[in-house]
């Protein structure tokens, strides 16, 4: 037990020292021509120190927000604004995907071409048809990963409200807070932990693992070389598979951010007995239209 407390305290101390060190040595910390700096970034990018730091910052904001609620509302609305903005932008990838698929199927089935050139203002961009077909996955991935937080803000994720619907305001908010801390954040943290190294494995060699220690990574730094993954499952397929791994990490990042924002919002709503304050929900209930224009 004492050991565990010791480890936690050491991690927190390390994290604080790390922040201090980065602030005082910004050039050394982000000098990416130095492979050891990259390896340090990789290590601390999914480490106990980062976790401690995130928790400290989140707690700090939370405690500050307990006294200055307007400040916390500002944080909540900023986070939700980011989620909404990213999601509403990325949603268009779905339409592009449909249009591109239509283009591919026409050209493939009717003209039986094997490649498509797009050359606006003299820039020639020629790719095999398989590239266009395989690339559809990227749009789908973008919609899935980047719109998830947006969907969360918009209450688009299904709830089983068998009991939830019958609970009072306070119980709902408390359950939401507990759910965020004990279910959502742990699951997302695991995905971040493995997703972060997964992404780096697709960007550079030698392969890095979640179990590697800092010393081991620094040792690997000597052999460090950028090696961006371009191989797809089919020979002429989409050649930027690393983007899927980057999407995974971005998914975790946006969702963790949104989870923290949701925790704050639930807390504020618990204290203020008010819901949906400042919530930027899409106004798109088509059935308002039906009700008003019922004559159709």
């Amino acid at each position: 037990m004492l050991d565990a407390i010791g480890v936690v305290l050491a991690t927190i101390g390390n994290a604080l020292y790390g922040v201090f060190w980065v602030i005082t040595h910004p050039v050394q910390a982000f000098n990416f021509s130095d492979t050891e700096a990259i390896m340090r970034l990789i290590f601390y990018g999914a480490s106990g120190e980062l976790l401690a730091l995130v928790i400290l910052v989140a707690l700090g904001v939370f405690i500050a927000g307990m006294f200055r609620r307007e400040f916390l509302w500002g944080v909540v609305l900023t986070i939700e604004g980011i989620s909404n903005g990213v999601g509403r932008f990325a949603a268009w990838a779905g339409l592009i995907m449909v249009l591109q698929q239509i283009m591919v199927i026409f050209l493939q089935a009717i003209f039986r071409v094997s490649e498509i050139s797009v050359s606006p203002v003299g820039l020639d961009f020629t790719k095999n048809l398989g590239w266009y077909g395989d690339g559809l996955k990227f749009y789908n991935g973008a919609v899935v990963c980047l719109c998830c937080a947006y969907t969360f803000v918009q209450r688009g994720h299904v709830r089983v409200d068998l009991f939830y619907a019958s609970w009072g305001h306070r119980t709902k908010r408390i359950m939401d807070m507990l759910g965020t801390v004990f279910m959502m954040l742990p699951a997302l943290s695991i995905m971040w932990l493995y997703g972060w190294f997964f992404m780096w494995r697709s960007l550079a060699i030698p392969p890095v693992n979640a179990t590697d220690t800092l010393d081991r990574l620094v040792l690997k730094a000597r052999a460090f070389r950028w090696n961006v993954e371009t191989i797809s499952s089919s020979p002429s397929g989409f050649d930027a598979y690393f983007l899927f791994k980057v999407l995974l990490v971005v998914f975790c990042f946006t969702m963790i951010l949104q989870a923290i924002g949701f925790f704050y919002r639930s807390f504020l709503e618990l204290r203020e007995e008010e819901t949906e304050r400042g919530l930027d929900l899409d106004v798109l209930d088509p059935h308002d239209g039906v009700a008003t224009e019922g004559g159709h």
Binding site: W92, M183, Y194
Partner: protein, 779 residues
Amino acid sequence: MLFGLDGIEIALLIVFLCLFGGIMTGFPVAFAIGGSAVISFTIIAALDSGGLLIHQAVDDRSAEYAALLAEGIPREAISVFSFPDLPRIEEPLFKRGWEAAFNSDLGQIVNRMDQRVIGGESIETLLAVLMFVMMGITLERSRIAEDLLTTMARVFGPLPGGLAVSIVVVGAFLAASTGIVGATVVTMGLLALPTMLRQGYSPELSTGVIAASGTLGQIIPPSIVIVLLGTLAGDLYAAGQEQRALLAGCNDALTLLGEPAVLSVGTLFQAALLPGILLAGLYASYAFGFALFNPSKAPPVEGEAISSEAVTRNEALTWYLGVPVLIILALIGAGQVGIAGSQDLTVRETELSGTSGLLRTNVSPECQASLIEVHGQEAWDASVEAGGAVDATSRDLSEEEIQAALDAKIASAAPIGTAFAIVMALFAIVIALARGVSPSAPAWPLALGAAGIAVALAIDWTALSPLASSGQRTLALALPVIVVLWSVRIAAVRLGQNELIRVVFPPLVLIVAVLGSILGGVTNPTPAAALGAGGAIMLAAYRKLKDENKTGRTILVAALSIVVMILLGANFDLRVTREVVPFEDWAAFIVAMAAYHVAMLGLLYGCWVLYRTSVLAPVVRETAKVTSMVFTILIGSQLLNLVVISFGGEHYIQQVLRSFEQEWVVFLLVMVILFILGFVLDFLEIIYIVVPIVGPVIYGGTLDPAWVTIMIAVNLQTSFLTPPFGFALFYLRGVAPPGITTGHIYRGILPFVLIQVVGLALLWLFPEVVTILPDLIGK
């Protein structure tokens, strides 16, 4: 050992309780699943480290185990359930400690996400989800459901229970075009429910029939349930059959089955069509029967007539039924006697010498026994006699052989091509219907069109040999075809004056285009879904323009260009990168390219119209939300699945299921479990949590995989209807008028849940309903 249970059983219980507890907190399901996975892993790891969870595994170092292996029993078949007397050893759940299990199993989560959610190979089918969702939402916004409802209510209203029947018809129609349960139930609940109540329909029947018909979209293709389930089932079937082949002593599933173990979503769509129609029929007959016995609770409703013009019964019978049926019979007859048929003169320049329908005979004795068991002694003997199946080889044919094959093809080619005959038959039906719609309008343009069809067919039969090039063919047929097109245009205008046809036609075209291309095996579900979404956008844009009293001609021209392009593509070789390109192909290519650009620009124009009227952005956003929600649940379920794998739970459940003697008992058990789970879980969770665990067993046997999948799909459709957590009820409750209580809805849905059970029983007794269509189309 706690409570006399095996460690794995306790662990499974912990996962189960955590999952239910997590989901019941009302936290968004996707994260409740992932979160409860982590919580249960933590609890199990803590208990296991404390030495509280002991698994009684079979001791694979014992002499008895070695003896069984020596008897030729494969390792996979030996479990504590099949051989309970084997010596056991006690071991912890995480043999190498929980840290190792965490790292090697839970760490797989990112690979799973990458492979099964975002970028893997099986994702190609899953891409159809977003496109079908977009298609459905666009159609919903273009108010097609509203039009259908009012028109169908007028058609069926005068029957007893007619409004309820019209709900079923509209539900089936919307199901075939969109397949989104929420949208369908909400629309019908808002528009039809108040009318039904006002007309004296009982609240129970009204709510029940709306909720049930709304869920038809989950079974009638294109359905998202089948896309999701089918993607999973395809993998499970392939893996399950491989394992079965290994257990049977064969090298691979191809050897054992004599055919590749493949289950495509396209096949599943074909298989789902008849069961879907069967269910719709059952709903409608229930509504009709209910009305016959309780006339006061479902009275007939007199409405205004559909068409302004009086059509006598005789005329209606002749032109709506008699003539079209005759035309179709003539088409089929012509195909049978060889007047219409293939004119394909392509001759392979290489000969494939492979054998199909034969079994491999150079196999081990165990495999031989299994093959005889699966295929029967006769098939085995026949294969041995024929020398067994060998891998296909190819050789180039000589010039004379090619010429001979070509001559044979010319001799056997039908005088009229199939495609041409079908197109002409369709035109003839349009003309016949137009005659029926307005008998008082002058008949000569239609008669001229009919004559044109006759002349065109006659020219093709007599004057054009199958050798004629596409250019010659076009020139020879141009004049009569132009006459026919002119006549069809007049017919179309007349048909457009009929409200029923005007309302049913646009979604019908979409349905025929999307379903036709999937069912006919022309394209995969994904491209078909994209075409459906594009079509829906153009349809919605056309409606929007009409609402604004603007001309929708651009959209019509674009739609026509698509038809032109497809016809040219089917009749000419448009590959201009060949070494020698005949002039006619160049001409066709230029026209087709122009048509392609017009079509794509028309599509973009449609997008612009919808964007300008602020329809497109909501559609795109809503699509993104639904898609993201579905896939996030998939992500959460992957985490749970990995936790269940990490302590051997998945393997354990599969061994239990495998230990049953009879396969159908296992399947019945699984179906009952799914049915019960349906009361509290939603189809997505069931597909992603339960099916991967039980799938390898139920897909690894002799049951027809398409039948298994459709049975599961119907079962999952029921989960939409079963209180307390039935999606359809949930949506309906949200939009129902104040007088409707939850009690009404629950009582109303009960008969329909029973109908679902009856439907499942029928499909169980008559599996042909599922298999007949794939068999027919496949051959």
